[in-house]
């Protein structure tokens, strides 16, 4: 079954070519009516319907093999089957349809075809494969640059969090993540890296070069155990060099680049193309209209963009005793642009936080010296960029450990003067070793 | 055939390029004449000037590199298409990150942008060196209204032939007296100034405001000329006077009043940064600076011709060294902050003085900030560094001295016995304390010698002995005493200077070789003054350690070169030891000098209308404002020179114009705000807030406390108590506390006579925009900030004036209603309105009741203050008591607990009137 599945990528190109050829013939037939043409249209249409069915079946085999899932797969799957069904029906009913509905049928067929084709491609080559190498001006129009690139000196880059994890996210996590452990190996987090997978630990201290991770990477491309598997996007040389460099230093999870010796090649790689996952550059939103910022100001909300050319917004409501729901509603006008809110010593409550948590791009959230309670943290769980959370001098306690652990993107968490027990804090430290807790480094 | 002929003709025409017409300008000529100098001044610095460091990989020396482009990978120049050329896009500064040159100050002018665009669109030709030289032979080249001018020669050759926009050089061209544009106005029924202003408003046809009411007019004129509000009698006298020339008589009366000099001297002292102390770390008192302040007041009162006023301030000692007035006048040259101590490097403090005096002469008399040309040729005006150092050479032989100058009969040298005696008492207390400590040390030394059986030697003698044969330093003194001793010797320095204040010396200068003395002691003119006059060099980057080439004393070369033969001043400045300043002063005050008279006329106009014809009185250059009415300015200037530089004559001329007498409200506000928001065309009279000094003097005048005595030693009014006792750090010690003068008569004088410390400003004056004393102030700003409220609403000054005035009203009038009507008339200069009277009476009732139940606390003045500081040497904190001798014998102003409840209530009402907008604004 797997064997046949592997032919899907090969077979599926046939119906695409055939269907388009049929359409072309139909066009020519339309201008210069001739019986022969009409006949050949039918033949080619039949052929493409047949091959579409086979491609669909192989596709289903391939999907069982695993390694794909998620929304992209579903769309690809149903549109693919749709092409097969539609082309066969069209083949049988063509002679009975009047001239307009013929064109309608062609339209339907071709749209389904393009959908299936596009999503199939992004499954194999990653979402942005279409635009990745587009010339600059196209890329500019489609992905808006916000703010000039922040000059980050490599020395403040966390080796695991900012270099290795982004590579894993791009090249490995599609098969090795929390809910789909290919070879029972989960590479989504420091702790799971350490655990390793079915064939043992990834790192071998005595003999670094022979470590399982490097071994699998260096296997020849078509070797069955080569990682990432053939057909998936391969590691580029600089990524391999970085992983090797990381392992040479004992696969550390709490080190900064400046803590490791980096040879000139590594420094060159870091400077040129490796930016840590900096949400400020990843979030792309349109700027909010100035009138909204003025409206904020008029209602006593201090609001300004993080830099003159950036659409991202910081909000300061520190010291404001009554945070009425009117203020929260007002803030929603810029919910995508708001990346930082300072509620220090304000009247913010748990259910206010429910609303705030719906702001998708929040990176900094200051709740210190307020009377939010343990339930508050739960609301924040699906903030995918939340890196800095400050809850010092609040009544938060060990009860919130689980919720806090769920915030996997967190890089700094300030718990001073809260009801957290020292064991609770130790637990947190163990689970998230490189989380900044406001203790002296 | 004919078509080919025409075609050939066109080619030829195009090839040689007829100069002058912009649109068919030959790009090659454009490159040779204009583009090369733009690149040289704006680009080559970072792109090719230093071959080792080429920014952004873009080298403006080689054309191919520009076509390919630098690190950005985009071509800098796309011949024929400026839109695509990155060079053109970046100099347009549309995208902030790309903007070139990086600094806003260096951005290219409109015309330069146009040139680069035309050049690139014309194919961006880059002819060879020879071709450029050939093109440059055509000397009549002119692009737009830009011209080339000759100066004494810039440091760099490209600066030398830099083009200037003609309208930026307006101030350097000689004054031409223009015709008065009467238009259809009848000359004998209209005023020349109104004709010029009407001409200015012609195309925009803005309606003008009606005339101000007589009431508003007398308040405006009185405060404008003497800095004090009109009294009730003066107002009633003026309103009642039916004589058609009543207005002229009012002006003449005010111009004749001595208080006119006190008001208008103040504007001049803003420009020259008058202060009674030297600033920096010791802020030494300048004992005789006050005589220069009185000289300026007398000059305005006597209507001394302005050119003579300038001559005396620049070269009074060279005009007549025996006339004290002349020596006093040269105080101008030493007004800037300056100090030389053992800690400072002599060469640097000397250079600091020369830079300061050159710049103040430039700003005050030539309306040109010269310090821009200190480090390099001026970036905008035709002033080469060579001119800057030539003018500086005029002052190379100027040295400092406190020259003996007997007091003049007009000078007020009164001082109370108490004030003089207290300084002598202080001196001997300090000497006694110092001797006590010295003896204590000597006793310890004596004991030290006896223990070792050596013969005792006094301190001076034993200093040379090797270490083991003399007692350890400061033996016998505790660290606390050590610190206190330093305080004593600093206090002695200060007291000696305060004593010198009463001696007849002038804060003056003399000509001689360089002689830099510690500013702690008084300098006299040395006997032998022979020796080579010090030479002056052009300094690279303005650093005294990097001379380039020597220069002789000289003037602003552009003025000489722009003047036609008939108007050239050509006065040669002597280069010997003597009369350099006299020569320069003669050049400056020569009637053909285009700037001096214009600069003063512009200042007079500015203080009448709130805004100069050129809005930057200290800067007539390219970066300053352009005159809104250039012909009017020149006409006024010719009138000023024709009337023997009389300032009072200018007041009469300006104040009798209708424009000066417009009301401050306008018939059609929307139109004027839309067309002329800054009221540059003066279609109505600009309201203004009273200056800091005017506010303080007006309250003293209204309350009847003002002692109108003129001139004399600086007085010390009451200032905020906490600021007064605030310790002021002077070089390792603390300056004595500020204590007001002992009696009300001494303290309550006009504010121009208050002692001005550079390190302690009167908070009341500072918060109402009294300018600092470091930089010349061309025009005061008028900000509205919260501390003004704290000062007026809570401050002691307003409370005391209100109390004294209330008390006077209680005695002179009966019935609260009459009193508050009198107060409203005196403070707002109008009759009280019925609704007002009713509200104020209601307020008085409530307040009287409140005061009956609440007795004010009795407050006494502190008689000593404890000082605490870290002793510099040991870092140990030590404290000492400082006796406040004046407060011990102080005669305070009237205090709240000395009057009854209804007087205190009336005082509160008056304080409200002083805080109101109607009092502090002049319409």
């Amino acid at each position: 079954m797997d064997f046949l599945g592997a032919f899907h990528p090969l077979v599926l190109h046939v119906p695409i070519g055939a269907l388009i050829a049929a359409f072309l013939l139909e066009m020519v037939h339309y201008f210069r009516k001739s019986q022969a043409l009409d006949q050949s249209v039918k033949i080619v249409l039949g052929f493409s319907a047949f091959t579409a069915i086979i491609a669909a079946i192989f596709g289903i085999f391939l999907s069982q093999k695993g390694g794909y899932q998620g929304l992209t797969l579903q769309i690809h799957q149903w549109s693919g089957i749709g092409v097969a069904v539609l082309s066969t029906m069209f083949f049988f009913l063509k002679s009975r349809l009047n001239s307009q509905s013929v064109w309608v049928a062609w339209g339907l067929n071709l749209t389904f075809l393009t959908i299936a084709g596009h999503f199939g491609g992004s499954l194999t080559h990653g979402e942005d494969f279409l635009l990745k190498d587009a010339p600059d001006f196209i890329k500019e129009t489609f992905t808006s640059q916000n703010g000039s690139p922040l000059f980050i000196h490599p020395d403040s880059v966390d080796v695991f969090l900012d270099i290795i994890q982004p590579i894993a996210r791009e090249k490995c996590n599609s098969c090795h993540n929390t809910n789909k452990k290919q070879g029972s190996l989960d590479l989504s987090e420091a702790s799971t890296w350490k655990k390793g997978g079915k064939s043992g630990e990834l790192f071998d201290p005595e003999n670094t070069m022979q470590s399982l991770l490097l071994h699998r990477i260096f296997l020849p491309l078509d070797h069955e155990e080569h990682m990432p598997p053939k057909g998936q996007e391969q590691l580029i040389p600089s990524e391999v060099a970085l992983i090797e460099w990381w392992l040479e230093h004992g696969m550390p999870f709490d080190k900064k680049v400046s803590d490791l010796q980096s040879n000139s090649r590594i420094v060159q790689i870091l400077n040129s193309n490796f930016r840590p996952l900096d949400p400020y550059q990843v979030i792309t939103v349109d700027p909010v209209d100035q009138s909204i910022l003025d409206e904020f100001r008029a209602n006593g909300i201090t609001a300004l963009t993080i830099s003159r050319k950036s659409p991202l917004i910081e909000i300061r409501l520190a010291g404001v005793d009554t945070i009425g729901s009117d203020k929260i509603e007002l803030l929603k006008k810029a919910r995508d642009q708001i990346v930082k809110i300072d509620f220090q010593a304000s009247g913010i409550t748990n259910d206010h936080l429910k609303e705030i948590a719906s702001f998708p791009n929040l990176i900094h959230l200051s709740l210190q010296q307020t009377n939010i309670s343990n339930g508050a943290i739960l609301n924040l769980k699906d903030l995918k960029y939340l890196q800095h959370l400050n809850v010092h001098s609040t009544s938060i306690s060990d009860e919130s450990i689980a919720d806090l652990m769920a915030l996997d993107k967190l890089r700094s968490l300030y718990l001073w003067n809260t009801n957290f027990s020292s064991e609770g804090i130790e637990k947190l430290k163990l689970a998230r070793p490189n989380l900044e807790l406001g203790e002296l480094n | 055939m004919t078509r080919n002929l025409i075609f050939i003709l066109l080619v030829i025409l195009n090839a040689c390029g007829s100069p002058g017409k912009k649109d068919t300008v030959d790009p090659e000529a454009l490159f040779a004449h204009e583009v090369t100098s733009i690149i040289a001044s704006k680009c080559i610095g970072c792109h090719g000037g230093d071959p080792k460091k080429i920014e952004g990989g873009l080298d403006f020396r080689n054309y191919e590199n520009l076509l390919v482009g630098g690190n950005s990978g985009k071509p800098a120049i796309v011949p024929g298409n400026s839109k695509q050329s990155l060079l053109y896009q970046s100099i347009l500064r549309v995208d902030e990150d790309l903007a070139m040159p990086p600094k806003d100050g260096d951005k290219l002018s409109e015309i330069d942008l146009q040139i680069i665009r035309d050049w690139i669109d014309g194919g961006a030709p880059w002819p060879s060196e020879e071709r450029i030289a050939a093109i440059k032979m055509d000397t009549e080249w002119q692009y737009g209204n830009r011209i080339r001018v000759k100066t004494s020669g810039g440091l760099s050759e490209t600066w030398e032939n830099r083009p200037y926009e003609k309208e930026n050089l307006w101030a350097y061209y000689p004054v031409e007296k223009p015709e008065i544009p009467w238009g259809e106005l009848d000359p004998n029924k209209n005023h020349p100034i109104d004709a010029f202003l009407a001409d200015g408003r012609a195309e925009l046809n803005i309606p003008t405001a009606p005339s101000a009411s007589d009431l508003a007019l007398i308040r405006r004129v009185t405060i404008d000329l003497i800095g004090l509000p009109p009294t009730k009698d003066e107002i009633e006298g003026f309103l009642g006077n039916k004589d058609p020339n009543a207005y002229q008589h009012l002006i003449d009366r005010l111009l004749a009043s001595p208080q006119y000099g006190e008001q208008w001297a103040r504007h001049w002292l803003d420009v020259v940064r008058y202060a009674d102390t030297g600033g920096f770390s010791n802020d030494y008192v300048r004992p005789n600076a006050w005589r220069y302040r009185d000289y300026v007041i007398r000059a305005f009162n006597d209507d001394k011709p302005y050119d003579q006023f300038v001559m005396e301030q620049l070269a009074g000692d060279e005009i007549d060294p025996d006339d004290p007035e002349m020596l006093i006048a040269t105080g101008f040259l030493r007004m800037g902050p300056w100090e030389h101590t053992a800690m400072s490097v002599a060469a640097e403090t000397r250079q600091y003085y020369l830079d300061d005096v050159t710049n103040i002469v430039g700003e005050a008399f030539l309306s040109t900030p010269l310090n821009c040309a200190k480090c390099h040729d001026h970036k905008y005006d035709p002033i080469p560094a060579r001119d800057y150092y030539s003018i500086q050479a005029v002052f190379a032989t100027t040295q400092f001295a406190e020259r003996p100058a007997p007091f003049l009969p007009e000078e007020n040298t009164e001082v109370t016995e108490f004030e003089k005696q207290r300084i002598l008492d202080w001196i001997n207390i300090t000497e006694k304390e110092d001797d006590y400590l010295a003896n204590k040390e000597e006793e310890a030394a004596k004991r030290w010698y006896e223990e070792r059986g050596l013969t005792y030697l006094p301190k001076r003698a034993r200093r040379k002995l090797p270490e083991d044969q003399q007692p350890p330093r400061y033996l016998g003194l505790t660290f606390e005493e050590l610190g206190y001793r330093k305080v004593l010797n600093k206090r002695m320095q200060l007291l000696r200077k305060q004593k010198e204040r009463f001696e007849p010396f002038a804060f003056s200068v003399y000509n001689g070789p360089v002689n830099i003395r510690n500013s702690q002691n008084r300098g006299s003119v040395p006997e032998n003054l022979n020796g080579e006059p010090p030479n002056t060099n052009i300094l690279a980057g303005g650093s005294v350690y990097a001379p380039i080439e020597p220069v002789e004393a000289g003037v602003m070369s552009i003025i000489e070169n722009l003047a036609p033969e008939s108007k050239k001043i050509n006065i040669k400045i002597p280069n010997g030891m003597e009369s350099r300043r006299l020569g320069f002063a003669k050049w400056l005050t020569h009637p053909d000098n285009p700037i001096l008279a214009r600069s003063m006329v512009n200042r007079i106009w500015q203080h009448h209308f709130g805004q100069g014809i050129c809005e930057t009185p200290n800067n007539f250059g390219a970066t300053g404002g352009k005159p809104t009415h250039p012909e009017l300015l020149d006409w006024l200037t010719s009138y000023f020179i024709a009337h023997d530089y009389s300032v009072k004559e200018m007041h009469r001329l300006i104040m009798t114009s209708r424009a000066y007498r417009f009301s401050s409200s306008h018939p059609d506000w929307s139109k004027v705000n839309e067309v002329d928001p800054d009221n540059e065309l003066l279609s109505y009279f600009n309201p203004r807030r009273m200056d800091a000094e005017e506010l303080k003097d007006a309250m003293l005048y209204i309350s009847g406390e003002l002692n109108t005595k003129m001139g004399g030693f600086p007085t010390r009014p009451e200032i905020n108590m906490e600021a007064a006792l605030q310790p002021r750090h002077i070089m390792g010690s603390i300056a004595p506390a500020y204590q007001p003068s002992r009696t009300p008569e001494e303290r309550n004088r006009r504010t121009i006579y208050a002692e001005r410390y550079r390190t302690l400003a009167d908070p009341y004056l500072e918060v109402f925009n009294q300018p600092g004393t470091d930089m010349s102030c061309e025009a005061r700003s008028e900000s509205t900030v919260t501390p003004q409220v704290f000062t007026m609403f809570n401050g002691q000054n307003v409370r005391t004036r209100s109390l004294v005035y209330a008390n006077r009203l209680m005695n002179d009038f009966d019935g609260q209603e009459n009193r508050l009507k009198e107060a409203i008339y005196a403070i707002f200069n109008r009759e009280a309105r019925p609704d007002e009277i009713e509200e104020c009476l209601h307020y008085l009732e409530k307040m009287t009741k409140y005061h009956q139940d609440n007795k004010p606390p009795k407050i006494d003045y502190p008689t000593e203050v404890e000082r605490e500081m870290f002793e510099e040497m040991t870092g140990e904190p030590f404290s000492f008591k400082e006796e406040l001798d004046i407060y011990k014998n102080y005669i305070p102003d009237l205090q709240p607990w000395q009057v009854d409840a209804s007087t205190r209530a009336l005082a509160d009402l008056i304080a409200v009137y002083f805080n109101s907008n109607e009092f502090i604004y002049v319409y």
Partner: protein, 473 residues
């Protein structure tokens, strides 16, 4: 802090710190500056975005007035022990009277050791600062220009040696405004006596009056005249204010187009409200005992400076943009061991407490701390009054400073001075580059942060400089 002002001459009328009036901030509607007629409606102090994303939002500048010796604090010179007391001559036009003539070398009275994981040097009187060594970035390559206290103070504070120009705090408030518009953007906590050069060190120079530094006085009225004079009660003020505003409104009807009138009317409303707000904003008595102890408040040698550091954190926490804290008396020409010893002890615990407190409150990464004097000191001293003075003279060519938080590279030493500490030799930068770097950390470009005055676009660094890249994380 007694709030009884009824009696002027109470015994502890010890001294006042603040003298020149500070321009206390206004709400955005009220501030207006009459500049060529047009009313700046949006308040000059309302917050505005930096040019590029900022690494630091607040600054606490710990200014050690007098010139602390880098040799006896963070840049030890063991070589000097060899040359101790050897004599030599120095002449030259470039030297002041004080630093020419016969000289002799003086070794450091303190031993030094490496501290923290990053192994940075600290002289032994620094006890508490050692705990936070890994948060600090030491910079040794800076050079001043002036040998004289007041001109050197003006230079580091305002970029121009001769005074009259805006201070660093004023430039930053001009560029970014304040995050809390009811508090000044730039606050100064001066020493017992003002530093040399007086209020010129925190002046707004040619910038509008709103950007002037506000000196806060720990005793007496925090801002001059903020409390009504003795005997004037709140009822009293309310009645007067009500009548005043009625008069002003009546007057305004006659001059509807004179726009400053309304600004001045609202000015009185705000001032009245601020009389209550400002005092409790700066009251540190409310802090808990443990925090006070952390800063050394209540202990004799650290109480004064401890209070100021605690107040600095409290002001920054409430949105004040720039706080300058002064410690004076570092000019040790003699008795170096005693003077520097006492002074180091007086600042050691408070500064360490400040860094720990900021870190645990999650404020350190956005708050830039600077510790510096106006110049360094020489390895040699001049012969004075016939004896050996164990002190050092002024040295503009080498000085020691450090930074913490606000985007700097923690736990590093940047640049170096020669082996006797006379001159900076590695990563050497003039003082103006330090200013450009500080502005850069605030997301401001020195070339673009300009103000037109006296005929040119003036900037803090006077004519441009470069960013000291090595210092930035």
């Amino acid at each position: 802090m007694s709030t009884d002002h009824t009696n002027w001459n109470r015994r502890d009328f010890l001294y006042g710190l603040g003298s020149s009036i500070g321009a206390v901030a206004l709400s955005s509607l009220l501030a207006c500056e009459r500049k060529t007629g047009q009313l700046v409606s949006k308040g000059p102090l309302s917050p505005s975005a930096p040019m590029v994303r900022a690494r630091a939002k607040y600054c606490i500048f710990l200014t050690m007035e007098g010139g602390p010796s880098h040799i006896d604090t963070f840049d030890p010179k063991p070589q000097l022990d060899k040359y101790h007391l050897t004599k030599f001559q120095r002449q030259g036009e470039k030297f002041s009277a004080m630093s020419s003539g016969d000289r002799y070398f003086v070794r450091s009275p303190f031993s030094s050791r490496k501290v923290g994981k990053s192994g940075v040097d600290m002289s032994e009187p620094f006890v508490h600062l050692a705990d936070v060594a890994d948060e600090i970035c030491f910079y040794r390559g800076c050079q001043a220009e002036s040998v004289n206290h007041p001109t050197a103070m003006y230079h580091i504070n305002t970029g121009n040696r001769f005074g009259g120009e805006p201070a660093l705090g004023s430039w930053i408030s001009y560029g970014l405004g304040t995050m809390n518009e009811n508090l000044p953007a730039f606050v100064v906590l001066p020493e017992v006596a003002y530093p040399q050069g007086g209020p010129g060190n925190w002046s707004n120079g040619f910038l509008p009056a709103h950007y002037q530094g506000t000196p806060l006085r720990p005793e007496g009225s925090p801002i001059l005249n903020i409390n009504p004079p003795p005997g004037v009660s709140r009822y009293h003020q309310e009645e007067s204010l009500e009548l005043l505003q009625r008069l002003n409104r009546e007057h305004q009807k006659m001059h509807p187009y004179h726009d400053e009138l309304s600004a001045r009317i609202e000015n009185y409303e705000l001032a009245y409200r601020m009389q209550m707000e400002v005092p409790d904003v700066i009251d540190i008595e409310g802090e808990d005992e443990k925090t006070k102890e952390l800063y050394g408040v209540g202990q004799a040698e650290t109480d004064v400076f401890g209070r100021k550091c605690l107040l600095a954190r409290k002001l920054v926490e409430q949105g004040v943009r720039f706080v300058q804290v002064y410690s004076g008396g570092w000019d040790s020409h003699d008795f170096l061991e005693r003077a520097h010893g006492n002074l180091i002890t007086s600042i050691d615990k408070p500064i360490a407490g400040l860094i720990k407190d900021l870190k645990r409150r999650g404020m350190l990464d956005e708050t830039l701390i600077i510790w510096s004097g106006e110049f360094g000191r020489t390895a040699d001293n001049g012969v004075r009054e016939n004896g050996v003075a164990y002190g050092r003279d002024h040295n503009p060519d080498a000085m020691g400073m450090w930074f913490a938080g606000g985007g700097v590279k923690a736990g590093h030493i940047i640049g170096a001075t020669d082996e006797l500490g006379q001159e900076a030799i590695e990563i050497v930068h003039p003082l103006r580059d330090l200013h450009v770097t500080l502005l850069h950390l605030f997301g401001l470009d020195d070339n673009k942060l300009t103000y037109f005055h006296g005929g040119r676009h003036k900037q803090l660094s006077q004519f441009g400089g470069q960013v000291i890249k090595e210092v930035i994380a």
